[in-house]
Amino acid sequence: MQASSSVREYLVTGGKTVGDVSEDICRQVEGKPTTLWIVSFAISAVVLAFGFYCGCYLLWNGVGVWGLNKTVGWAWDITNFVWWVGIGHAGTLISAILLLFRQRWRMSINRAAEAMTIFAVICAASFPLMHMGRLWLGFYWCLPLPNTWGSLWVNFNSPLLWDVFAISTYFSVSLVFWYIGLIPDFAVIRDRAVRMGNKTRAWIYNSLSFGWDGGAKTWMRYESVALILAGLSTPLVLSVHTIVSMDFATSVIPGWHTTIFPPYFVSGAIFSGFAMVLTLLLVTRKTFKLEDYITIYHIELMNIVIIVTGSIVGIAYITEFFIAWYGQVPAEQYAFLNRMGGPYWWAYWCMMTCNVVSPQLFWFKKIRTSLSATFVLSIIVNIGMWFERFVIIVTSLHRDYLPSSWSMFHPTIFDIGEYLFTFGFFFCAFLLFAKFFPVINMAEVKSIIKATSEKKH
């Protein structure tokens, strides 16, 4: 039995019935793509093509085409890697952690957020792969495969190897979770196609749905699988960014060598992820006319998550400085003073403004319920989070122990091209997803219609 609350706001507005949910969500899958969709896809494809050219150029000529030098051996590549992985975290948080907490508001946003996770993780993985230079040997460097050097195995003591396992597990588990959720919704499209007499579509979506029947027994198993996957994904998502942070934290580079990194990175990841979910959903909601399913209330709740995680990130920045002063290690102190007032001061203050100051605006109800303000701030937060990783990585490296080797990092067109490649891929993939897959989890939304839908008066 479901009870409705008079205190909480409606999660579905406009007096929708169960039947309306199928109709509203399947419409864009069944219809022809809009001009806006075609234009967006074309632009993304062009960006992707340019990025692909840059990637091929890099593989042919080597990593030297990037702007890296002897002092700054890690720069945009790892910055982008951490940035994309972080973005992915919101999807799992919404689909797994909020499921365990029985938060119903996640139901209309989890599908798109999970898709975002999967595409973002693919984008992230492309950077370490490219950085290997000789990609075709990468399997031997990343996986414990028998080889002709011994077998000389991979080093399981290295956080970089943990990262390989963390990212690939994260990707594949997110993919399973997402796909299992899609199965009943593919069956909805299949049966609508049968009723419309569209045999090809019915056949395609039946294959995608694995012949889903929707019996009570199948649903019972399905729910059990979803719950266990959520239980497994929750520690997984926390472990992923923890391990990413250990790439830095287990080293002895001043500025990286801090124990605060794991929680700081995880909250930063959720912070940037929610910002990206908002950017994408605000556009999706408008384009596909999903205002009744992704309501202002959903957006407000997401903005509250942004205030919380943004404040945690802000405290982490201050704690780092405090510990640098309190620890009395000159190298550490210098690294932090250099961050704030050195040649990269502009990146540091950009990060502080975007990540610490701007999300505080969401304390005002007017701002966190305003679509345009949310859209602008969500982009600002993601710019800020990119700079956070840039600041941590480049400012810690560029002035090392020998002043004679101090240098600066200047990105080349290929650094920029690789970054564009991931944007092109991300938006192409997301647009294809939004066109051919149901962007909202219909089965879950239908299950809460009776309790949380606004009644027609």
Binding site: M1, Q2, T17, V18, G19, S22, P144, S151, L152, W153, N155, F156, N157, P159, L161, W162, F165, A166, T169, S172, V173, V176, I180, I183, P184, A187, V188, R190, D191, R192, V194, N206, S207, L208, F210, G211, D213, G214, A216, K217, W219, M220, R221, Y222, E223, S224, V225, I228, L229, L232, S233, P235, L236, S239, I243, M442, E444, K446, S447, K450
Partner: protein
């Protein structure tokens, strides 16, 4: 699949009416073949008297396999097959092996359980499900009762379904 089976099919529009109906129809001693719904209805599995799924046990076993396999592989590779001194630590020290062990446990548990789910539910990409009414993926709950396994006649079953709130009663032969 058996042939020439006759079913009485009750269509319900509301999940709470359906739940009550399942309870009272089963109380009459009628055996319900299956109920098909567009979304998971909580309490329906208990009302139908289904035994709890053992998929969590499968997940646990897969997870355990992952843990053992990952630990064994790492200890064997770095401890015995090609020992190396890294950072002056023991060849096979446990703490650095935990992250990979954890990831591998989660990987096997998730994939193992998902594949088991597909197999035990007899789901295949090329298979069409047996559907009593395909509105069951849209907005209707469909209850199928096999005539062969019940003593009541077709008319009596139809009346029973109607009395319990079915909005429509149909027949279906396979």
């Amino acid at each position: 699949m058996e042939h020439n089976k006759n079913y009485v099919v009750g269509i319900f529009s509301d999940e709470d009416v359906l739940l009550d109906a399942v309870g009272s129809i089963r109380d009459k001693g009628v055996k319900i073949e299956e109920v098909y719904s567009p979304f998971p209805v909580h309490g329906l599995d208990e009302a139908l008297g289904y035994r709890r799924t053992r998929l969590p046990i499968a997940a646990f076993m897969f997870g355990l396999t992952g843990t053992c396999l990952a630990l064994f592989t790492q200890i064997w590779m770095l401890g015995y097959d090609w020992p190396m001194i890294i950072g002056g630590k023991n060849h096979a020290s446990l703490p650095p092996f935990i992250p990979v062990t954890f990831e591998f446990t989660v990987l096997l548990a998730s994939w193992g359980m998902a594949i088991t789910f597909i197999i035990v539910s007899d789901m295949k990409p090329y298979k069409w499900p047996r559907q009593f009414d395909n509105r069951s993926t849209d907005d209707k709950h469909v209850m199928a009762i096999d005539l062969a396994t019940n003593k009541l006649s077709k008319q009596e079953l139809a009346q029973l379904l109607k009395d319990n709130g079915a909005t429509e009663v149909n027949e279906k032969n396979f």
